[in-house]
Amino acid sequence: MHPGKASPILEVEGLTLSFGGIKALTDVGFEVAPGSITTVIGPNGAGKTSLFNTISGFYKPSTGRIRFQGEDITATRPPERARLGLARSFQNIALFRGMTVLDNIKLGRHAHLRTNVLDALFYFGRARHEEMKLRQEVEERIIDFLEIDHIRHMPVSVLSYGLQKRVEMARALAMRPKVLMLDEPVAGMNREETEDMARFILDVREEWGVTVLMVEHDMGMVMDLSDHVVVLNFGQVIADGTPAEVQANPEVIKAYLGSGDVSELRQRLHQPLAVGA
Protein backbone atom coordinates (compact mmCIF):
# COMPACT_ATOMS: atom_id res chain seq x y z
CA MET A 1 0.00 0.00 0.00
CA HIS A 2 1.84 3.03 -1.17
CA PRO A 3 0.59 6.58 -1.10
CA GLY A 4 0.62 8.73 -4.17
CA LYS A 5 -1.38 6.56 -6.56
CA ALA A 6 -5.02 7.30 -5.68
CA SER A 7 -6.15 10.87 -5.06
CA PRO A 8 -5.57 11.82 -1.41
CA ILE A 9 -8.40 11.47 1.11
CA LEU A 10 -7.05 14.36 3.16
CA GLU A 11 -5.00 17.26 1.86
CA VAL A 12 -3.47 20.03 3.89
CA GLU A 13 -2.19 22.95 1.89
CA GLY A 14 -0.25 26.03 2.97
CA LEU A 15 -1.64 25.95 6.49
CA THR A 16 -0.54 28.82 8.71
CA LEU A 17 -1.78 29.23 12.28
CA SER A 18 -0.72 31.91 14.70
CA PHE A 19 -1.59 32.76 18.28
CA GLY A 20 -0.94 36.46 18.68
CA GLY A 21 2.57 36.91 17.39
CA ILE A 22 3.58 33.28 17.73
CA LYS A 23 3.39 31.13 14.66
CA ALA A 24 2.37 27.61 15.61
CA LEU A 25 2.25 26.41 12.02
CA THR A 26 3.89 27.91 8.94
CA ASP A 27 2.89 26.89 5.46
CA VAL A 28 2.26 23.28 6.41
CA GLY A 29 1.27 21.00 3.56
CA PHE A 30 1.02 17.25 3.08
CA GLU A 31 -1.30 14.60 1.71
CA VAL A 32 -2.81 11.50 3.24
CA ALA A 33 -3.41 8.63 0.81
CA PRO A 34 -6.58 6.60 1.29
CA GLY A 35 -5.96 3.41 3.23
CA SER A 36 -2.58 4.55 4.45
CA ILE A 37 -1.16 4.97 7.91
CA THR A 38 0.38 8.42 7.96
CA THR A 39 2.25 9.64 11.01
CA VAL A 40 3.21 13.15 12.03
CA ILE A 41 6.32 13.26 14.18
CA GLY A 42 8.43 16.04 15.56
CA PRO A 43 10.05 17.26 18.77
CA ASN A 44 7.91 18.65 21.60
CA GLY A 45 6.30 21.93 20.68
CA ALA A 46 6.73 21.33 16.96
CA GLY A 47 3.03 21.98 16.36
CA LYS A 48 1.72 18.45 15.95
CA THR A 49 -1.29 18.84 18.20
CA SER A 50 -1.98 22.32 16.80
CA LEU A 51 -2.06 20.71 13.38
CA PHE A 52 -4.53 18.08 14.61
CA ASN A 53 -6.68 20.74 16.24
CA THR A 54 -6.75 22.71 13.02
CA ILE A 55 -7.72 19.66 10.99
CA SER A 56 -10.55 18.79 13.38
CA GLY A 57 -11.74 22.40 13.40
CA PHE A 58 -10.84 23.76 16.84
CA TYR A 59 -8.52 26.36 15.41
CA LYS A 60 -9.09 28.51 12.37
CA PRO A 61 -5.98 28.75 10.23
CA SER A 62 -5.09 32.26 9.05
CA THR A 63 -4.19 30.95 5.61
CA GLY A 64 -4.28 27.63 3.88
CA ARG A 65 -6.81 24.98 3.01
CA ILE A 66 -7.87 21.59 4.28
CA ARG A 67 -9.54 19.26 1.79
CA PHE A 68 -11.31 16.09 2.83
CA GLN A 69 -12.32 13.69 0.06
CA GLY A 70 -11.73 16.46 -2.42
CA GLU A 71 -14.04 18.89 -0.61
CA ASP A 72 -12.77 22.06 1.01
CA ILE A 73 -13.63 21.82 4.73
CA THR A 74 -11.54 24.76 5.97
CA ALA A 75 -14.67 26.68 6.99
CA THR A 76 -16.72 23.67 8.12
CA ARG A 77 -17.73 23.51 11.80
CA PRO A 78 -16.31 20.65 13.90
CA PRO A 79 -19.61 18.71 14.33
CA GLU A 80 -20.09 18.70 10.57
CA ARG A 81 -16.52 17.45 10.03
CA ALA A 82 -17.33 14.61 12.42
CA ARG A 83 -20.40 13.73 10.38
CA LEU A 84 -18.36 13.67 7.18
CA GLY A 85 -16.12 10.99 8.67
CA LEU A 86 -13.25 12.74 10.40
CA ALA A 87 -12.84 11.12 13.82
CA ARG A 88 -10.16 11.69 16.39
CA SER A 89 -8.84 10.75 19.79
CA PHE A 90 -7.09 13.16 22.12
CA GLN A 91 -3.64 13.29 23.63
CA ASN A 92 -4.98 13.72 27.17
CA ILE A 93 -7.89 11.33 26.91
CA ALA A 94 -11.16 13.19 26.47
CA LEU A 95 -13.68 10.58 27.54
CA PHE A 96 -16.88 11.58 29.30
CA ARG A 97 -16.18 10.61 32.86
CA GLY A 98 -19.78 10.56 34.00
CA MET A 99 -20.75 7.87 31.51
CA THR A 100 -20.15 4.17 31.20
CA VAL A 101 -17.84 2.71 28.56
CA LEU A 102 -20.86 1.66 26.51
CA ASP A 103 -22.43 5.13 26.56
CA ASN A 104 -19.13 6.74 25.64
CA ILE A 105 -18.87 4.50 22.61
CA LYS A 106 -22.51 5.00 21.62
CA LEU A 107 -21.99 8.73 21.83
CA GLY A 108 -19.57 8.47 18.94
CA ARG A 109 -22.43 7.56 16.64
CA HIS A 110 -24.38 10.71 17.55
CA ALA A 111 -24.15 12.48 14.21
CA HIS A 112 -25.47 9.46 12.32
CA LEU A 113 -28.58 8.90 14.44
CA ARG A 114 -31.96 10.45 13.73
CA THR A 115 -33.82 10.20 17.06
CA ASN A 116 -35.48 13.51 17.93
CA VAL A 117 -36.72 14.79 21.28
CA LEU A 118 -40.22 13.38 21.00
CA ASP A 119 -38.93 9.93 20.03
CA ALA A 120 -36.54 10.13 22.94
CA LEU A 121 -39.12 11.12 25.58
CA PHE A 122 -41.42 8.25 24.66
CA TYR A 123 -38.73 5.78 23.60
CA PHE A 124 -41.07 4.21 21.07
CA GLY A 125 -40.53 3.34 17.43
CA ARG A 126 -37.52 5.07 16.00
CA ALA A 127 -35.69 5.74 19.26
CA ARG A 128 -35.91 2.15 20.50
CA HIS A 129 -35.21 0.67 17.09
CA GLU A 130 -32.20 2.89 16.53
CA GLU A 131 -30.80 2.28 20.01
CA MET A 132 -31.11 -1.49 19.68
CA LYS A 133 -29.42 -1.51 16.29
CA LEU A 134 -26.67 0.72 17.62
CA ARG A 135 -26.19 -1.44 20.68
CA GLN A 136 -25.87 -4.56 18.57
CA GLU A 137 -23.39 -2.97 16.21
CA VAL A 138 -21.32 -1.48 19.02
CA GLU A 139 -21.21 -4.84 20.78
CA GLU A 140 -20.49 -7.00 17.79
CA ARG A 141 -18.20 -4.81 15.74
CA ILE A 142 -16.44 -2.52 18.18
CA ILE A 143 -16.43 -3.98 21.68
CA ASP A 144 -15.53 -7.46 20.44
CA PHE A 145 -12.92 -6.07 18.11
CA LEU A 146 -11.15 -4.02 20.78
CA GLU A 147 -11.57 -6.69 23.45
CA ILE A 148 -13.24 -4.47 26.01
CA ASP A 149 -16.37 -6.55 26.69
CA HIS A 150 -15.45 -7.06 30.34
CA ILE A 151 -15.60 -3.34 31.10
CA ARG A 152 -18.60 -2.26 29.04
CA HIS A 153 -20.79 -1.31 32.00
CA MET A 154 -18.06 0.38 34.02
CA PRO A 155 -17.76 4.13 34.40
CA VAL A 156 -14.68 5.22 32.45
CA SER A 157 -13.23 7.05 35.45
CA VAL A 158 -12.25 3.76 37.12
CA LEU A 159 -10.33 2.36 34.14
CA SER A 160 -6.57 2.20 33.70
CA TYR A 161 -4.91 4.60 31.32
CA GLY A 162 -4.33 1.97 28.65
CA LEU A 163 -7.95 0.85 28.71
CA GLN A 164 -9.17 4.45 28.56
CA LYS A 165 -7.12 4.97 25.42
CA ARG A 166 -8.72 1.88 23.97
CA VAL A 167 -12.22 3.10 24.85
CA GLU A 168 -11.42 6.40 23.21
CA MET A 169 -10.45 4.53 20.07
CA ALA A 170 -13.70 2.55 20.29
CA ARG A 171 -15.63 5.80 20.49
CA ALA A 172 -13.80 7.14 17.45
CA LEU A 173 -14.62 3.93 15.54
CA ALA A 174 -18.30 4.34 16.42
CA MET A 175 -18.19 7.61 14.48
CA ARG A 176 -17.99 5.63 11.22
CA PRO A 177 -14.70 7.33 10.42
CA LYS A 178 -13.14 7.53 7.01
CA VAL A 179 -10.03 9.08 8.51
CA LEU A 180 -9.13 8.18 12.08
CA MET A 181 -6.89 10.74 13.76
CA LEU A 182 -5.03 9.42 16.78
CA ASP A 183 -3.13 11.87 18.96
CA GLU A 184 -0.36 9.87 20.66
CA PRO A 185 -2.26 6.59 20.90
CA VAL A 186 0.45 4.82 22.92
CA ALA A 187 1.88 7.66 25.02
CA GLY A 188 2.46 6.51 28.58
CA MET A 189 1.75 2.86 27.81
CA ASN A 190 3.94 -0.08 28.69
CA ARG A 191 5.39 -2.38 26.05
CA GLU A 192 2.51 -4.81 26.09
CA GLU A 193 -0.17 -2.16 25.86
CA THR A 194 1.75 -0.49 23.05
CA GLU A 195 1.91 -3.72 21.09
CA ASP A 196 -1.82 -4.28 21.58
CA MET A 197 -2.57 -0.80 20.36
CA ALA A 198 -0.28 -1.20 17.34
CA ARG A 199 -2.12 -4.38 16.45
CA PHE A 200 -5.49 -2.59 16.74
CA ILE A 201 -4.31 0.23 14.50
CA LEU A 202 -3.19 -2.22 11.83
CA ASP A 203 -6.44 -4.18 12.13
CA VAL A 204 -8.56 -1.05 11.87
CA ARG A 205 -6.88 -0.28 8.59
CA GLU A 206 -7.20 -3.85 7.29
CA GLU A 207 -10.67 -4.76 8.52
CA TRP A 208 -12.44 -1.42 8.42
CA GLY A 209 -10.58 0.12 5.53
CA VAL A 210 -10.05 3.24 7.60
CA THR A 211 -7.24 5.65 6.82
CA VAL A 212 -5.14 6.45 9.88
CA LEU A 213 -3.44 9.75 10.60
CA MET A 214 -1.55 9.80 13.88
CA VAL A 215 0.84 11.77 16.00
CA GLU A 216 3.25 9.56 17.89
CA HIS A 217 6.55 9.69 19.74
CA ASP A 218 7.29 5.99 19.96
CA MET A 219 9.76 5.77 17.08
CA GLY A 220 9.77 2.00 16.96
CA MET A 221 6.06 1.96 16.42
CA VAL A 222 6.09 4.87 13.99
CA MET A 223 8.67 3.27 11.75
CA ASP A 224 7.04 -0.17 11.85
CA LEU A 225 3.48 0.90 11.20
CA SER A 226 3.62 3.95 8.99
CA ASP A 227 3.42 4.05 5.22
CA HIS A 228 4.19 7.72 5.25
CA VAL A 229 5.86 9.99 7.79
CA VAL A 230 5.61 13.78 8.00
CA VAL A 231 8.17 15.52 10.20
CA LEU A 232 7.35 18.86 11.80
CA ASN A 233 9.80 21.17 13.51
CA PHE A 234 9.02 24.69 14.72
CA GLY A 235 5.71 24.53 12.90
CA GLN A 236 7.21 23.67 9.53
CA VAL A 237 7.37 20.46 7.54
CA ILE A 238 11.04 19.54 7.35
CA ALA A 239 10.67 16.10 5.81
CA ASP A 240 7.94 14.05 4.23
CA GLY A 241 8.26 10.51 2.86
CA THR A 242 8.49 6.81 3.67
CA PRO A 243 9.93 5.83 7.07
CA ALA A 244 13.22 4.87 5.43
CA GLU A 245 13.51 8.20 3.62
CA VAL A 246 12.75 10.14 6.76
CA GLN A 247 15.22 8.20 8.88
CA ALA A 248 17.98 9.00 6.45
CA ASN A 249 17.15 12.69 6.25
CA PRO A 250 19.90 14.77 7.92
CA GLU A 251 17.42 17.58 8.72
CA VAL A 252 15.34 15.17 10.79
CA ILE A 253 18.34 13.87 12.65
CA LYS A 254 19.39 17.42 13.41
CA ALA A 255 15.92 18.35 14.63
CA TYR A 256 15.85 15.47 17.04
CA LEU A 257 19.42 15.56 18.30
CA GLY A 258 20.76 18.94 17.41
CA SER A 259 24.08 18.37 15.72
CA GLY A 260 25.94 15.58 17.38
CA ASP A 261 26.16 11.85 17.66
CA VAL A 262 23.85 10.30 15.14
CA SER A 263 24.38 6.65 15.92
CA GLU A 264 22.27 6.70 19.07
CA LEU A 265 19.27 8.01 17.18
CA ARG A 266 19.86 5.50 14.39
CA GLN A 267 19.68 2.81 16.98
CA ARG A 268 16.44 4.18 18.40
CA LEU A 269 14.88 4.52 15.00
CA HIS A 270 15.71 0.94 14.05
CA GLN A 271 14.57 -0.63 17.30
CA PRO A 272 12.17 -3.34 16.16
CA LEU A 273 8.66 -3.58 17.52
CA ALA A 274 7.27 -7.07 17.90
CA VAL A 275 3.93 -6.85 16.22
CA GLY A 276 2.07 -9.92 15.09
CA ALA A 277 1.22 -8.47 11.73
Binding site: F58, L95, G98, H110, T115, V117, A120, E130
Partner: protein, 346 residues
Protein backbone atom coordinates in the same frame (compact mmCIF):
# COMPACT_ATOMS: atom_id res chain seq x y z
CA UNK B 1 -28.52 -11.50 47.34
CA UNK B 2 -29.19 -10.83 43.71
CA UNK B 3 -29.29 -13.86 41.44
CA UNK B 4 -31.00 -14.93 38.24
CA UNK B 5 -30.51 -11.56 36.56
CA UNK B 6 -28.59 -12.85 33.55
CA UNK B 7 -29.72 -10.84 30.56
CA UNK B 8 -30.24 -12.59 27.29
CA UNK B 9 -30.98 -9.74 24.90
CA UNK B 10 -29.71 -6.23 24.29
CA UNK B 11 -33.24 -4.99 24.75
CA UNK B 12 -33.40 -6.54 28.20
CA UNK B 13 -30.02 -5.08 29.08
CA UNK B 14 -31.14 -1.62 27.97
CA UNK B 15 -34.47 -1.60 29.80
CA UNK B 16 -35.10 0.89 32.60
CA UNK B 17 -36.10 -1.74 35.13
CA UNK B 18 -34.29 -4.96 34.41
CA UNK B 19 -34.84 -7.35 37.28
CA UNK B 20 -37.80 -9.15 38.79
CA UNK B 21 -37.05 -7.59 42.14
CA UNK B 22 -37.35 -4.14 40.59
CA UNK B 23 -40.62 -5.05 38.94
CA UNK B 24 -41.86 -6.31 42.29
CA UNK B 25 -40.97 -3.09 44.05
CA UNK B 26 -42.55 -1.05 41.25
CA UNK B 27 -45.77 -2.97 41.79
CA UNK B 28 -45.57 -2.20 45.51
CA UNK B 29 -45.00 1.47 44.70
CA UNK B 30 -47.96 1.52 42.32
CA UNK B 31 -50.24 -0.02 44.95
CA UNK B 32 -48.98 2.50 47.52
CA UNK B 33 -49.62 5.42 45.18
CA UNK B 34 -53.10 4.11 44.36
CA UNK B 35 -53.99 3.42 47.97
CA UNK B 36 -52.50 6.55 49.50
CA UNK B 37 -55.36 8.98 48.75
CA UNK B 38 -57.87 6.74 50.46
CA UNK B 39 -55.86 6.48 53.64
CA UNK B 40 -54.36 9.95 53.94
CA UNK B 41 -56.09 13.01 55.31
CA UNK B 42 -56.38 16.37 53.58
CA UNK B 43 -53.05 17.63 54.95
CA UNK B 44 -51.05 14.69 53.62
CA UNK B 45 -52.83 14.86 50.27
CA UNK B 46 -51.95 18.53 50.08
CA UNK B 47 -48.30 17.61 50.69
CA UNK B 48 -48.45 14.80 48.12
CA UNK B 49 -49.69 17.21 45.45
CA UNK B 50 -46.98 19.69 46.34
CA UNK B 51 -44.35 16.95 46.17
CA UNK B 52 -45.63 15.89 42.73
CA UNK B 53 -45.35 19.46 41.43
CA UNK B 54 -41.89 19.87 42.91
CA UNK B 55 -40.68 16.55 41.50
CA UNK B 56 -41.80 17.63 38.02
CA UNK B 57 -39.97 20.93 38.26
CA UNK B 58 -36.86 19.46 39.89
CA UNK B 59 -36.65 16.80 37.20
CA UNK B 60 -36.71 19.58 34.62
CA UNK B 61 -33.95 21.52 36.34
CA UNK B 62 -31.99 18.30 36.70
CA UNK B 63 -31.97 17.89 32.90
CA UNK B 64 -30.40 21.32 32.59
CA UNK B 65 -28.15 21.55 35.64
CA UNK B 66 -27.56 17.94 36.66
CA UNK B 67 -27.16 16.40 33.22
CA UNK B 68 -26.09 19.26 30.95
CA UNK B 69 -24.05 21.10 33.57
CA UNK B 70 -25.66 24.51 32.98
CA UNK B 71 -26.47 26.14 36.30
CA UNK B 72 -29.79 27.95 36.26
CA UNK B 73 -31.50 30.04 38.90
CA UNK B 74 -34.48 30.75 36.69
CA UNK B 75 -36.57 27.64 37.27
CA UNK B 76 -39.17 29.42 39.43
CA UNK B 77 -39.58 32.18 36.85
CA UNK B 78 -40.21 29.57 34.15
CA UNK B 79 -42.78 27.98 36.43
CA UNK B 80 -44.28 31.46 36.65
CA UNK B 81 -44.60 31.62 32.87
CA UNK B 82 -46.40 28.27 32.90
CA UNK B 83 -48.66 29.31 35.76
CA UNK B 84 -49.61 32.62 34.13
CA UNK B 85 -50.23 30.94 30.79
CA UNK B 86 -52.56 28.40 32.38
CA UNK B 87 -54.28 31.04 34.49
CA UNK B 88 -54.82 33.37 31.54
CA UNK B 89 -56.07 30.58 29.26
CA UNK B 90 -58.40 29.30 31.96
CA UNK B 91 -59.75 32.78 32.68
CA UNK B 92 -60.01 34.19 29.17
CA UNK B 93 -60.62 31.19 26.90
CA UNK B 94 -61.62 28.37 29.19
CA UNK B 95 -59.70 25.82 27.10
CA UNK B 96 -59.34 22.19 28.31
CA UNK B 97 -57.08 21.59 31.31
CA UNK B 98 -54.57 19.26 29.67
CA UNK B 99 -54.26 21.60 26.70
CA UNK B 100 -53.62 24.50 29.10
CA UNK B 101 -50.90 22.57 30.87
CA UNK B 102 -49.24 21.72 27.56
CA UNK B 103 -49.51 25.34 26.46
CA UNK B 104 -47.96 26.42 29.76
CA UNK B 105 -45.08 24.07 29.05
CA UNK B 106 -44.59 25.36 25.52
CA UNK B 107 -44.72 29.05 26.42
CA UNK B 108 -42.23 28.47 29.23
CA UNK B 109 -40.08 26.57 26.73
CA UNK B 110 -39.99 29.62 24.46
CA UNK B 111 -38.86 31.68 27.43
CA UNK B 112 -36.22 29.08 28.21
CA UNK B 113 -34.88 29.17 24.66
CA UNK B 114 -34.39 32.94 24.85
CA UNK B 115 -32.76 32.79 28.29
CA UNK B 116 -30.58 29.92 27.09
CA UNK B 117 -29.06 31.93 24.26
CA UNK B 118 -26.13 33.31 26.31
CA UNK B 119 -25.23 29.79 27.44
CA UNK B 120 -23.00 29.24 24.43
CA UNK B 121 -20.73 32.01 25.65
CA UNK B 122 -21.10 31.96 29.43
CA UNK B 123 -20.92 29.08 31.86
CA UNK B 124 -21.01 28.40 35.57
CA UNK B 125 -21.54 31.37 37.85
CA UNK B 126 -21.86 33.78 34.93
CA UNK B 127 -24.72 31.79 33.47
CA UNK B 128 -26.35 31.57 36.91
CA UNK B 129 -26.26 35.37 37.13
CA UNK B 130 -27.69 35.67 33.61
CA UNK B 131 -30.61 33.45 34.61
CA UNK B 132 -31.19 35.54 37.75
CA UNK B 133 -31.35 38.59 35.51
CA UNK B 134 -33.92 36.80 33.36
CA UNK B 135 -35.99 36.05 36.48
CA UNK B 136 -35.96 39.71 37.43
CA UNK B 137 -37.11 40.70 33.96
CA UNK B 138 -39.89 38.10 34.07
CA UNK B 139 -40.99 39.29 37.50
CA UNK B 140 -41.26 42.78 36.08
CA UNK B 141 -43.37 41.48 33.19
CA UNK B 142 -45.64 39.55 35.56
CA UNK B 143 -46.17 42.64 37.70
CA UNK B 144 -46.74 45.14 34.92
CA UNK B 145 -48.40 43.47 31.97
CA UNK B 146 -51.86 44.17 33.41
CA UNK B 147 -53.86 43.06 30.39
CA UNK B 148 -52.65 39.45 30.71
CA UNK B 149 -51.30 39.01 34.24
CA UNK B 150 -53.61 41.28 36.19
CA UNK B 151 -50.66 43.19 37.66
CA UNK B 152 -49.84 42.90 41.35
CA UNK B 153 -53.20 41.44 42.32
CA UNK B 154 -52.64 38.54 39.93
CA UNK B 155 -55.18 36.11 38.50
CA UNK B 156 -57.59 33.89 40.34
CA UNK B 157 -57.83 30.49 38.70
CA UNK B 158 -61.05 28.47 38.50
CA UNK B 159 -60.74 24.83 39.57
CA UNK B 160 -59.55 22.49 36.84
CA UNK B 161 -62.44 20.69 35.20
CA UNK B 162 -62.16 17.56 33.10
CA UNK B 163 -65.28 15.84 31.70
CA UNK B 164 -67.48 17.63 34.19
CA UNK B 165 -65.42 16.62 37.20
CA UNK B 166 -64.16 19.60 39.13
CA UNK B 167 -60.68 19.13 40.57
CA UNK B 168 -61.23 21.31 43.61
CA UNK B 169 -59.77 19.18 46.40
CA UNK B 170 -56.31 17.79 46.99
CA UNK B 171 -57.82 14.31 46.74
CA UNK B 172 -58.95 14.96 43.18
CA UNK B 173 -55.89 16.91 42.13
CA UNK B 174 -53.75 13.99 43.30
CA UNK B 175 -55.24 11.88 40.49
CA UNK B 176 -54.35 14.59 38.00
CA UNK B 177 -50.87 15.54 39.22
CA UNK B 178 -49.36 12.19 40.10
CA UNK B 179 -49.91 10.61 36.64
CA UNK B 180 -48.59 13.75 34.91
CA UNK B 181 -45.50 13.76 37.10
CA UNK B 182 -44.91 10.05 36.52
CA UNK B 183 -45.12 10.58 32.76
CA UNK B 184 -42.67 13.48 32.98
CA UNK B 185 -40.18 11.50 35.07
CA UNK B 186 -40.40 8.50 32.72
CA UNK B 187 -39.88 10.83 29.77
CA UNK B 188 -36.72 12.19 31.36
CA UNK B 189 -35.49 8.67 32.11
CA UNK B 190 -36.08 7.68 28.48
CA UNK B 191 -34.28 10.75 27.23
CA UNK B 192 -31.07 9.51 28.79
CA UNK B 193 -31.28 6.19 26.99
CA UNK B 194 -30.92 7.93 23.63
CA UNK B 195 -28.50 10.10 21.71
CA UNK B 196 -30.08 13.29 23.04
CA UNK B 197 -29.42 12.49 26.68
CA UNK B 198 -25.92 11.29 25.87
CA UNK B 199 -25.22 14.56 24.09
CA UNK B 200 -26.31 16.50 27.20
CA UNK B 201 -23.97 14.53 29.46
CA UNK B 202 -21.15 14.93 26.95
CA UNK B 203 -21.60 18.71 27.04
CA UNK B 204 -21.46 18.64 30.84
CA UNK B 205 -18.37 16.45 31.02
CA UNK B 206 -16.28 18.00 28.25
CA UNK B 207 -18.00 20.36 25.90
CA UNK B 208 -15.09 20.89 23.52
CA UNK B 209 -14.61 17.25 22.71
CA UNK B 210 -18.39 16.85 22.43
CA UNK B 211 -18.23 19.24 19.51
CA UNK B 212 -15.54 17.21 17.74
CA UNK B 213 -17.71 14.12 18.22
CA UNK B 214 -20.45 15.70 16.16
CA UNK B 215 -22.62 17.47 18.75
CA UNK B 216 -23.58 21.05 17.80
CA UNK B 217 -23.18 22.81 21.16
CA UNK B 218 -25.62 25.69 20.79
CA UNK B 219 -28.44 23.51 19.51
CA UNK B 220 -28.11 21.04 22.37
CA UNK B 221 -27.66 23.63 25.08
CA UNK B 222 -30.80 25.37 23.86
CA UNK B 223 -32.61 22.05 23.67
CA UNK B 224 -31.68 21.40 27.27
CA UNK B 225 -32.91 24.84 28.31
CA UNK B 226 -36.09 24.31 26.34
CA UNK B 227 -36.85 20.92 27.86
CA UNK B 228 -36.03 22.09 31.33
CA UNK B 229 -38.33 25.08 31.10
CA UNK B 230 -41.04 22.96 29.47
CA UNK B 231 -40.99 20.83 32.62
CA UNK B 232 -41.03 23.99 34.74
CA UNK B 233 -43.95 25.36 32.72
CA UNK B 234 -46.07 22.25 33.18
CA UNK B 235 -45.17 22.18 36.88
CA UNK B 236 -46.10 25.86 37.12
CA UNK B 237 -49.42 25.09 35.42
CA UNK B 238 -50.14 22.42 38.00
CA UNK B 239 -49.13 24.92 40.67
CA UNK B 240 -51.73 27.35 39.31
CA UNK B 241 -54.49 24.73 39.50
CA UNK B 242 -53.33 23.79 42.97
CA UNK B 243 -53.11 27.20 44.67
CA UNK B 244 -55.71 28.77 42.40
CA UNK B 245 -54.22 32.25 42.52
CA UNK B 246 -51.15 33.42 40.64
CA UNK B 247 -49.38 36.64 41.59
CA UNK B 248 -45.94 38.04 40.75
CA UNK B 249 -44.82 37.10 44.28
CA UNK B 250 -45.76 33.44 43.80
CA UNK B 251 -42.46 32.55 42.19
CA UNK B 252 -39.64 34.30 44.06
CA UNK B 253 -35.93 33.74 43.51
CA UNK B 254 -35.74 31.67 46.70
CA UNK B 255 -37.94 29.12 44.96
CA UNK B 256 -35.36 28.73 42.19
CA UNK B 257 -32.74 28.17 44.86
CA UNK B 258 -35.05 25.60 46.42
CA UNK B 259 -35.09 23.59 43.18
CA UNK B 260 -31.35 23.90 42.70
CA UNK B 261 -30.86 22.66 46.27
CA UNK B 262 -33.23 19.77 45.55
CA UNK B 263 -31.17 18.74 42.53
CA UNK B 264 -27.93 18.88 44.52
CA UNK B 265 -29.23 17.21 47.68
CA UNK B 266 -30.88 14.44 45.66
CA UNK B 267 -27.86 13.81 43.48
CA UNK B 268 -27.04 15.71 40.30
CA UNK B 269 -27.58 13.97 37.03
CA UNK B 270 -29.69 11.06 38.23
CA UNK B 271 -33.42 10.58 37.74
CA UNK B 272 -33.85 9.14 41.21
CA UNK B 273 -31.87 12.03 42.66
CA UNK B 274 -34.36 14.63 41.46
CA UNK B 275 -37.24 12.64 42.95
CA UNK B 276 -35.55 12.13 46.31
CA UNK B 277 -34.27 15.70 46.39
CA UNK B 278 -37.73 17.15 45.76
CA UNK B 279 -39.26 14.91 48.42
CA UNK B 280 -36.54 15.85 50.90
CA UNK B 281 -36.80 19.58 50.30
CA UNK B 282 -40.59 19.56 50.54
CA UNK B 283 -41.03 17.16 53.40
CA UNK B 284 -38.19 17.95 55.79
CA UNK B 285 -39.50 21.42 56.75
CA UNK B 286 -42.92 19.84 57.30
CA UNK B 287 -41.42 17.03 59.36
CA UNK B 288 -39.53 19.56 61.47
CA UNK B 289 -42.77 21.46 61.98
CA UNK B 290 -44.46 18.27 63.14
CA UNK B 291 -41.61 17.42 65.49
CA UNK B 292 -41.72 20.88 67.07
CA UNK B 293 -45.49 20.46 67.40
CA UNK B 294 -45.07 17.20 69.32
CA UNK B 295 -42.60 18.67 71.80
CA UNK B 296 -44.32 19.55 75.08
CA UNK B 297 -43.60 23.27 74.91
CA UNK B 298 -45.42 26.44 75.75
CA UNK B 299 -46.68 28.65 72.90
CA UNK B 300 -43.82 31.10 73.48
CA UNK B 301 -41.18 28.41 73.14
CA UNK B 302 -42.75 27.20 69.89
CA UNK B 303 -42.55 30.72 68.55
CA UNK B 304 -38.86 30.88 69.41
CA UNK B 305 -38.25 27.47 67.92
CA UNK B 306 -39.60 28.35 64.49
CA UNK B 307 -36.40 30.03 63.27
CA UNK B 308 -34.47 27.12 64.77
CA UNK B 309 -36.41 24.92 62.38
CA UNK B 310 -35.05 26.85 59.43
CA UNK B 311 -31.56 26.58 60.86
CA UNK B 312 -31.86 22.82 61.27
CA UNK B 313 -33.10 22.53 57.70
CA UNK B 314 -30.15 24.56 56.46
CA UNK B 315 -27.73 22.49 58.52
CA UNK B 316 -29.18 19.30 57.05
CA UNK B 317 -28.53 20.58 53.53
CA UNK B 318 -24.97 21.55 54.40
CA UNK B 319 -24.52 18.17 56.04
CA UNK B 320 -25.54 16.45 52.83
CA UNK B 321 -23.17 18.51 50.73
CA UNK B 322 -20.29 17.63 53.04
CA UNK B 323 -20.95 13.99 53.85
CA UNK B 324 -22.84 12.79 50.80
CA UNK B 325 -21.84 14.95 47.84
CA UNK B 326 -23.40 12.44 45.45
CA UNK B 327 -26.72 13.02 47.14
CA UNK B 328 -29.54 10.94 48.52
CA UNK B 329 -29.52 8.63 45.52
CA UNK B 330 -26.05 7.45 46.53
CA UNK B 331 -27.40 6.34 49.91
CA UNK B 332 -30.13 4.47 48.08
CA UNK B 333 -27.57 2.83 45.79
CA UNK B 334 -25.47 1.76 48.74
CA UNK B 335 -28.48 0.12 50.36
CA UNK B 336 -29.26 -1.70 47.12
CA UNK B 337 -25.70 -2.85 46.73
CA UNK B 338 -25.70 -4.17 50.27
CA UNK B 339 -28.70 -6.36 49.56
CA UNK B 340 -27.33 -7.49 46.21
CA UNK B 341 -24.21 -8.83 47.89
CA UNK B 342 -25.71 -9.94 51.16
CA UNK B 343 -24.88 -12.26 52.87
CA UNK B 344 -21.54 -12.74 51.17
CA UNK B 345 -20.08 -9.33 51.79
CA UNK B 346 -21.32 -7.00 54.42
Amino acid sequence: MRIGTARSSYRHDESLFDSRTQHGWLAVLAVALLGFPFLADEYWLYLACLVAINIASTTGLNILTGYTGLVSLGQAAFMGIGAYTVAALEQKLGTPVLLNLLAGGFVAMLGGLVVGLPSLRVKGLYLAIATIAASVVLHFVFANWHAVTGGHSGITVAPAEILGVSFDTSFRLYWLFVPITILMVLGAANLFRTRIGRAFIAIRDRDISAEVLGIPLLRYKLLSFGLSSFYAGVAGGMWAYFFRVVTPESFPLIMSIFFLAAVIVGGMGTILGAILGAIFMTMVPEALKLIVGWLPLSADATLILSPVRTIVFGALIVGFLVFEPLGLQEIWRRIRRFFHLWPFRA
